[in-house]
C-alpha cells in the first residue's frame, strides 16, 4: 500500500464529508443559490444523498475489514506501469485528497455570492432579446412596476416602442461605483453556475449620495430616455425618486 493514499476508511469519510457539504448547501440551507442555478437543487440533493450512502456502505466494509484483520480485495487495481496515479491493494487514488478542498471552502470560507468585485470588473451586457423584433410583453400595471434589472436593460436598450417611457419602475440590485463619479445599480445573472455570471447595470441619477459599494438597494424611478440605445453594452439610466437600503435577496442572481 502506498503511503499517502486514502485507505478504505478515509475514502468512506471523504465521500461522506463531500456528501454532507453538498447537503449542507442544498438541502439544509439555501446557500447553493450563491453558486449555482435554482434548477440544480434536486440533483444536488440526490448527489449528496448518494455520496453519503456510498460512503456509509464503504465505512461498513472498512469496519468489517478491520474487525476481520484483512484487507479488502473486491477490485484488484494492479499497477506496475509507474506513470503516476497508480493504485494498489485496498488504497484509493492519492488525488482524492483534493476533494477535501471544496469541503473546506464550503464549511470554512462559505464564500458569499459574487457581487460588486466581479461586476466592477465586467461590462454590462444586454443581448438583443427576441422581443426586440416581435414586441415586448406589456409591463405590469402596478405603479411602480417591479422589474428584473436585466429586463429593464433589455427594454431600455432594445424596445423601440418605448414601453418604459414615463413609467415608474422598481429595481433591486447592489451598488457599484462609476468611473468619474456616480454609481450603477447592478445585478448579476447566472445561467449554470457562478463561473458564467454576466452583469446588468443601470446608471442611477439623483436620489442622494451613492450607497456604499456592494450594498443592496431598491430604487424607484423613471427611465431617462436620453440614454444610449441599440448597443449590447449600452448602460441605460434612471432618474431615481427613492433609494432605500434592502437586504440581499435569497437568490442573489437574476
Amino acid at each position: 500500500m502506498r503511503r499517502g493514499s486514502p485507505n478504505s476508511g478515509a475514502r468512506a469519510v471523504l465521500q461522506i464529508l463531500l456528501g454532507a457539504a453538498v447537503l449542507h448547501i442544498s438541502l439544509f440551507s439555501e446557500m447553493y443559490l450563491r453558486y449555482v442555478r435554482q434548477a440544480l437543487r434536486p440533483y444536488l440533493v440526490a448527489s449528496g444523498v448518494l455520496l453519503v450512502l456510498v460512503g456509509l456502505v464503504g465505512a461498513v466494509v472498512a469496519v468489517r475489514e478491520a474487525l476481520h484483520g484483512r484487507v479488502e480485495h473486491p477490485e484488484q487495481y494492479e499497477h506496475g506501469d509507474g506513470d503516476g496515479h497508480g493504485h494498489s491493494h485496498g488504497s484509493g487514488p492519492r488525488i482524492a485528497w483534493l476533494l477535501v478542498l471544496p469541503v473546506l471552502a464550503i464549511f470554512l470560507l462559505a464564500p458569499g455570492a459574487l457581487g460588486a468585485y466581479t461586476a466592477q470588473r465586467s461590462d454590462s451586457t444586454t443581448v438583443k432579446p427576441a422581443a426586440a423584433n416581435t414586441g415586448f410583453a406589456p409591463l405590469p400595471t402596478t405603479d411602480p412596476a417591479p422589474l428584473r434589472l436585466a429586463d429593464f436593460d433589455a427594454r431600455a436598450v432594445w424596445d423601440s416602442s418605448g414601453s418604459l417611457k414615463g413609467r415608474r419602475v422598481r429595481l433591486t440590485g447592489f451598488a457599484t461605483s462609476k468611473d468619474g463619479g456616480g454609481w450603477y445599480l447592478t445585478r448579476l445573472t447566472i445561467t449554470c453556475c457562478a463561473a458564467d455570471a454576466r452583469s446588468s447595470k443601470v446608471e442611477i441619477r439623483g436620489g442622494g449620495a451613492p450607497p456604499p459599494q456592494g450594498s443592496w438597494v431598491e430604487v424607484t424611478g423613471v427611465w431617462q430616455s436620453d440614454s444610449e440605445a441599440g448597443r449590447d453594452n449600452a448602460i441605460p439610466s434612471l432618474a431615481a425618486e427613492r433609494v432605500s437600503a434592502t437586504s440581499e435577496p435569497d437568490n442573489p442572481y437574476e
Partner: protein
Amino acid sequence: MARESVIEAVQTDQTDQTDLTARTESAATGVRAGRSRFGSNFGSLELLVVGMVVLLVTRQLVAGWVGPPWLEAWAAVFVAICVQALPFLLFGVVLSACIAAFVPTSLLERALPRNPVLAVPIAGVAGVVLPGCECASVPVADRLIARGVAPAAALAFLLSSPAINPVVLVATSVAFRGQPEMVLARLVASLATAVVMGLLWARFGRPEWLRPRSRREPSAGTGGWASFRATLEHDFLHAGGFLVIGGMTAATLNVAVPRGLLSSLAGLPGISVLMLGLLAVLLAVCSEADAFVAAGLSGFSPTARLAFMVVGPMVDVKLIALQAGTFGRAFAWRFSGATFVVALLSSGLVGWWLL
C-alpha cells in the same frame, strides 16, 4: 492566526497542484511497500478525523471573518464549478459503474462495427444520447474503452456527447433566439470535429499514449453489487480529485482574466476566432451554459462565437485535468492540442458556410 493558516493551506494547495502529478510518479514505485499493513491502514483515516476536528475548532475562530474580495470571488467560482459539475460527474460515474458491473462485454462489441471508419461516425452520433455536460462523458468513455470498444470510437463519443446532446442544443437555441442557423452550425461543427478526431486517432493514434483502464485494472471484476460499489468509489474519488484541480485552475483564470481585454481584441478579424477558442479553454464554462456566455460576447463575429461553443465542451482546463487523470498526461496534451486545432478549423469552415 487561524484564518491565516487556512489561506495559506488553500494557496499552498493551489501551487502544489502542478507538481502533484510529478510526485505521484516517484511514489508509485512503491518504495514504502514494506510498511506494516495494519499501521498504514489506520494512518490516513486518523489523519482525516483529527484534521476535521481541528477544522471544526478553527471554524468557530474564523466565524464572521470575511476575506479579501478576490479570495471571496475566487472561492465562490471554485465552489460553483465543483458543485455544478458534481451531479454530472456522479451521473457519468454511476453510468460507468453500471456498464462495468452489469453490461456484458460481448454486447458492446457487437453494437459497433469492427471497421473504425464506420464505427467512429456511429459513435459520434451516439453522443446525442448522453444528456449532460462534459464531466459525465470522460468516465463513460474510459469505461467503454475498458470494455473493448475501439478507442477511436470511444473518443469520438467523448467529444461529441457534451456538445450535441439535446439539453445543450436546446440551450443554444434559447440563447441564440431567432438564429436557428447557430444551433445547426454548432451541431455540424461539433460532430465534424468529433468524427475527424476519431478518424485521426484510428489512423495516427498510438496505444502507448493512452493509459486506459484495461491496463490499470486487468481483472474487470466479477460483476454485481460489490464490484459496482468499488468501481463507483474508485472512479468518483479519482475523477473528483482531478475535477478539483480543474475547478481551481478555472476559478483562477475566471477571476484573473480582465474582461475588458476581450472587447479590445474583438475587432481583429481572424484573431477573434482564435481568441474565443482560447477563452473557451480558459474559462471552462459548462457546456449547458456556454451558449449564453457566447451570446453575451457581442463584439465578436458569429464564427468566433461558434468556435467558443465548439471548443468549450471538447477542450478546457477542467477537461484536460480530468483526461490527464483518466487517460494519462501523454494522451491529454496530444489529444487536447489536436482537438483544439481541429475544432477551430471546423468552426471556421462551418461558420463560413452557414453563418
